[in-house]
Symmetry: C2
Subunit: 422 residues, 2 copies
């Protein structure tokens, strides 16, 4: 039952409105939800100028506060990006609606029929930072999966998010669904985020998206169940038998294809018997792409241009053109290193040894374990999910890339004709 949130009253009306909206959304037919999605896409295109205007205010504030170039880039919405956002919302129309799917079912010996059916969570809270595209992404994904969304996007994008949410709400209402299906709590400031984390009973699941710091705060402080997404200290291990060209290509692609994302490579491990054969060419190709090599002593003896790796490097998610490199004596040492330093996101082995490949797949405990591919493939789009809510690095509920079904719960529907237990 719902306990009144006496200590944290300011958010209550918003959360109660979200709850009421969620009841309508839970039984909304797919075609109504799709109509709302089409209206959101249309609304984004029609209101592109107003969105850009609001975004310019946020960008000017960001420049005044001297935020980093990377943050400014994430914060920026121009006409092309808004059009891409609208396209992404339209793509969700084509995805299968998970709600109502029967996961399993049976007839019991006494004639009772049971079935486990997908239902929305109800109210999904999302806490993220300065990425206005997430506002639209999450709104669309939540809507399609029948969930009401309560968004905390952070002060840096406050003006942009306010306009985006207004556009989304108008679109949802035009399809006959409650405007409160998507709400922002940015006006409540930091206190709003704190309240959201304590709103157990009002919010069914909380998804933090952003820095390791943000995720850690949410995980530690939230009483609402959390789906942890994100941080990736990702490893590639070059086994003794690793084919040279695969080693070069997979390491280069994993590190440089998009260094700022969570499935990018951070630490390269190399078997000592393969190091002399592979490292110079592998590291030359990285260096040619501007990557700084942080290497242990053995690797530096083979590649003197590298800078010394510190203990801290092994647990660092650079998200930049940096890589740590270590030579290991065995597959065992590689697995032990990964167990110690990995965040459990993605690890890949490059090998031609079948037994070693199977051991790596079995003994490395990460959301995604790979043989002979780039780590960049741990991705909802690449996996064919169509939309991605994030990549879960926890073991409960969802692990790895999350699509629409990962934003649902289930309930058991039990149909009888007067049966009682003997």
């Amino acid at each position: 039952m719902l306990q009144p949130l006496t200590e944290i009253a300011p958010l209550t009306p918003t959360l109660e409105a979200a709850r009421r909206a969620s009841l309508k959304l839970a039984s909304a037919p797919t075609e109504v939800k799709n109509r709302a999605l089409a209206a959101i896409a249309g609304g984004l295109r029609t209101n592109s100028a107003a969105i850009i205007e609001a975004n310019e205010v946020d960008l000017a504030n960001g420049v005044a506060k001297a935020i980093s170039a990377g943050l400014l880039d994430r914060l920026t919405l121009d006409a092309a990006r808004i059009a891409a956002l609208a396209d992404a919302v339209e793509a969700i129309i084509g995805l299968t609606d998970p709600i109502g799917t029967v996961v399993r079912g049976s007839s019991l010996p006494n004639g009772i029929k049971i079935s486990q059916v997908r239902v929305p969570f109800g109210v999904v809270g999302v806490i993220y930072e300065a990425r206005p595209n997430v506002t639209v992404d999450i709104a669309a994904i939540a809507l399609k999966s029948g969930n009401a969304a309560v968004l905390r996007g952070g002060s840096a994008a406050e003006n942009t998010n306010r306009v985006l949410v207004a556009v989304v709400q108008a679109a949802i209402e035009s399809a006959g669904l409650p405007a409160e299906s998507v709400q922002t709590i940015d006006p409540f400031g930091r206190a709003g985020a704190t309240e959201l984390m304590k709103s157990r009973g009002y919010v069914d699941v909380l998804i933090p998206r952003g820095s390791a710091n943000l995720i850690n705060t949410v995980v530690t402080e939230s009483t609402v169940p959390v789906i942890e997404t994100g941080a990736g200290v990702v490893h590639v291990y070059l086994d003794e038998s690793a084919p040279e060209q695969w080693a070069i290509d997979i390491v280069h692609n994993s590190k440089t294809h998009r260094p700022s994302v969570c499935n990018a490579l951070e630490t390269l491990l190399v078997h000592r018997h393969a190091a002399a054969r592979l490292l110079p060419a592998v590291l030359d190709k990285l260096t040619a792409s501007g990557v700084t090599i942080h290497a242990d002593a053995r690797a530096r003896s083979l590649y003197p241009a590298a800078v010394p790796a510190t203990e801290e490097d092994w647990s660092t998610e650079y998200m930049s053109l940096d890589i740590s490199v270590k030579i290991v004596d065995s597959l065992d040492e590689a697995i032990a290193h990964i167990r110690r330093y990995s965040t459990g996101h993605t690890e890949s082995i490059v090998t031609n040894d079948l037994a070693n490949a199977e051991r790596f797949l079995s003994e490395v405990d990460s959301a995604s374990v790979m043989v002979n591919t780039s780590t960049r493939f741990t991705d909802g789009g690449e996996f064919g999910f169509g939309a991605e809510v994030g990549i879960s690095t926890q073991k409960l509920h969802a692990r790895g890339p999350m699509g629409l079904p990962e934003l649902t719960s289930t309930k058991w529907v039990v149909r009888g004709s007067g049966q009682v237990r003997a």
Copy 2:
């Protein structure tokens, strides 16, 4: 990556031993795990006298502390109960091992093969109270699902649990698996439970089993992901068209079959047009079984023997021969009452109206929603799961009765041949 638990050091060696054991368990073949289960069942039978002796110490302490008759009964292990525990462990041998099951998979357009495979969580923490049977149940279920278990059983059963864990550990070791697969932290006292709740990174999931208070504490204080089990303010709603005999039987069975468990009925709602027809007979049968009726004013006018219901009654999980009764004006009012007071466990409608049945199934948001059956059927055994870890009342990961698959996570296994992202 693992952060050293500097503030909560005492438990660290236990948790590290559990982690090491979990690595062995994760790759243990089903037949080895089954051999350990058979050894546990044998060990329980062989050591029955020693278990009873330790249990008598706990019972004497309980009597000295004047704990309730109900608690004393839960605490008691006699020869028959130990034999039943051994049988229950043997029954788990026959259940399908969920580990290694491929949940789904596909070949991507670029030739990469992906499959989502069931893996153990790793280390499962369980906090419960004075029920030594849970020690054996959970140990067996965790073992079969490849998880190491760290148990906090509470001081009232400390002597019994120490002997039970010793028996279990000897059995597991005799099958060639690590003794530390199952450990008790009872010697660390209440501080141990607090540490366990903060052991994120060491413990993968925490399952509280027991009173609403215990569950609430764990949910609020734990930084480890929690699966919430338990509390059931369970409703039956007698619709206008409810057949009389079904109404009588289902209410009686739901309330009196086993009043102390979470799927027992607590609140009866009756449509006002059915009240005069149904209530006297339904409540007479309850009264004949010793049930105290707590009724609202309208129900009391039809059944004067009832005591007045207070506001508190509607949110009370009696777990005893008490029931609250309320007359409602409509299905809408029944659903609204359930939304306000239910803990989301189980609700059942008795009706012959198809449209009302479908609305109830769709609009009541509980783990188990029923038409024309006793609420006592929300049960892993009745659902055919063979073993039950508990009944989840949360929406994340597992909802409703949990069997072996609910004690697992998944990982994505990705096999390529040199693919990189374009």
